[in-house]
């Protein structure tokens, strides 16, 4: 059985960044396993601009951003396999993968970085009534068809869900000559970045129906129409508010789910909120020597932060391989009032050099509130926030010295301030 010091599962932004940083920190025997026919992951279909502002101080397209990392991987002669699908992972860090070139292969890893990304929620996840005609797509699938393979999925389109991929596809399909009749969002606020509401919908006069959902998809062989309705406070359609649209295509942009079949198979502890592995300050999962980063850990808004997380996971994996990663007493991070989740879920202060970053999302929209960070139930810091929304990941950076004094837990909560 072949042995690699580090195996990175997934050659997208997280995996590439992790491989590069592990290499830069002294690990040379690295293998990246990528199931697609080229490196770059989902970035290759995200042809819009806005990537790299933080990482490269430049505004790049998705493929442009990917190419920067692919060039680094090639320059450092980091080895990778394409068309290589990992089918099994066990808790002894033995991986099984298949590829057309090599067939079935079993390898032993010294350390592993999980960087499998995420997949889209589908129509099945929300049970939309109607037949099963063709013309119903997840937004990301339509994006791949259009931007990489050159196929339009339809001419008259309705989009359910205001996630960023849906918004970006609304603009893209409009530019390519389709008529996008509207976007419906079940929540009273958008789930996409504000910039995308503006430049993808408002620029093209595409209506956004907040607190609306699809109640019916018409068509037997092909979508022939869609009916939406307003929803009440408990998200039930309100009778009499229906609107119908003459469309041939419906896109779903209703969220992303970290792709963790392998993590679950290896019995890694999962966080039911993020649907990713629970990790510590070094992005190490409950399985020693197995790290997770990017969208497999928790769904991000910005690829820059995915790559940043990959870089940190790569550094930590190198530390582990060089026997410099320590085990210390554990501080738990606890999401309290208004906070959906916190990553990392636990911290060992002994491994924190200068700072500790806590990433989290709020559960709903807030205006003029305070984020209160408590150390062992004592207020450590209060941050005033004019605006908080679930669509925008928040980050708090704590001094390692502040964390070192913690006994058992760090918590974050949203506190409404009296006007």
């Amino acid at each position: 059985m072949k042995h690699f010091e580090l195996v990175v599962i997934g050659g997208g932004s997280a995996g590439l960044a992790a491989a590069v940083s592990a290499y830069d920190n002294g690990v040379s025997n690295i293998l990246i396993l990528e199931r697609d026919k080229e490196l770059g992951g989902i970035l290759q279909q995200c042809i819009h601009n806005g990537f790299g502002v933080h990482t490269f101080k430049e505004e790049l397209s998705g493929p442009g951003f990917a190419e920067r990392f692919i060039d680094l991987v090639n320059k450092k002669h980091i080895s990778y396999k394409l068309n290589a699908m990992v089918i099994h992972l066990n808790d002894d860090k033995i991986l099984e993968y298949v590829s057309p070139e090599e067939g079935y292969v079993v390898i032993q890893a010294g350390a592993i970085v999980l960087a499998m990304g995420c997949r889209e929620r589908t129509r099945g996840a929300i049970a939309v009534p109607g037949y099963r005609p063709s013309g119903v797509w997840s937004a990301g699938t339509a994006q791949r068809y259009l931007n990489m393979e050159g196929f339009m999925v339809g001419k008259k389109i309705f989009i359910l869900g205001s996630g960023d991929i849906g918004l970006i596809m609304a603009r893209r399909l409009t530019l390519e000559g389709a008529e996008v009749k509207g976007v419906a969002e079940i929540m009273p606020y958008s789930n996409g970045l504000p910039r995308n509401i503006k430049q993808c919908l408002e620029d093209f006069d595409i209506p956004l129906f907040l607190s609306h959902t699809i109640t019916k998809i018409d068509g037997l062989d092909r979508v022939s129409g869609v009916t939406i309705a307003q929803v009440d406070g408990s998200m039930q359609p309100i009778e009499g508010t229906e609107k119908t649209f003459d469309v041939d295509t419906v896109l779903f942009s209703i969220g992303l789910i970290p792709e963790n079949a392998l993590s679950e198979e290896a019995n890694i502890d999962m966080d039911p909120k993020t649907r990713g592995p629970k990790v510590d300050e070094s992005y190490q999962t409950s399985l020693r020597g197995v790290f997770a980063c990017g969208n497999v850990l928790h769904v991000h808004d910005l690829v820059d932060f995915v790559a940043e997380e990959g870089t940190k996971a790569g550094v930590a994996a190198a530390k582990y391989i060089n026997e410099k990663l320590k085990s210390g007493s554990i501080i738990n991070t606890i999401p309290k009032e208004g906070i959906g989740y916190i990553v990392p879920q636990r911290i060992q202060a002994i491994n924190c050099d200068k700072t500790v970053e806590l990433m989290f999302r709020v559960r709903k929209q807030y205006k003029n509130v305070e984020l209160v960070i408590k150390r062992d139930d004592e207020v450590l810091r209060v941050i005033k926030k004019k605006h908080l929304a679930p669509a925008e990941m928040e980050k708090v950076i704590l001094k390692a010295s502040d964390v070192a004094e913690c006994q058992h837990s760090l918590s974050i909560e949203v506190v409404e301030v009296a006007a």
């Binding site: 026919k37 080229e38 290759q44 042809i47 819009h48 601009n49 806005g50 502002v53 505004e59 790049l60 397209s61 998705g62 493929p63 442009g64 990917a66 190419e67 259009l146 931007n147 990489m148 393979e149 050159g150 893209r172 530019l175 390519e176 970045l193 504000p194 910039r195 509401i197 503006k198 430049q199 620029d203 808004d301 910005l302 004019k386 605006h387 925008e392």
Partner: protein, 123 residues
């Protein structure tokens, strides 16, 4: 003097800008931006709004049939569909390098359409 609020679209940070505009319509000050590009964006958006445009052109001999392309700089918002028309007739042949010029001075805007990635020739 009036205050105009808008969301910066330059990068995914989506900064909330507050702009002071005087009675003659001139921008007096921009607040809420976290970098200088937000300031530039706010002033342009109120006078001559521009957008980066990304799309694809046909490519043959490459791993996929489409090459992603991007404008070398932002173009007037009203010209997006004109530029899309110009892209519809283009076909390139692999290999292509990232930043190669695909259309020079597209629609006489003084801006180029460039490849946003490299695509090698495959057999």
């Amino acid at each position: 003097m009036k205050k105009v609020e808008m969301i910066c679209i330059v990068c995914p940070m989506s900064c909330r800008l507050v702009i002071d505009v005087d009675d003659a319509g001139a921008v007096q000050s921009v607040a809420g931006n976290s970098c200088n590009r937000g300031d530039i964006y706010a002033r342009k958006e109120l006078t001559n709004p521009t957008r980066m445009l990304t799309s694809t052109v046909k490519i043959s001999g490459a791993i996929y049939d489409r090459l992603p392309v991007i404008t070398s700089s932002d173009i007037p918002k009203g010209m997006m569909f004109e530029v899309m028309k110009a892209l519809a007739n283009i076909e390139v042949v692999a290999p292509v390098k990232a930043n190669d010029i695909i259309i020079e001075n597209v629609c006489n805007l003084g801006i180029n359409i460039i490849a946003s990635r490299s695509m090698e020739q495959v057999h």
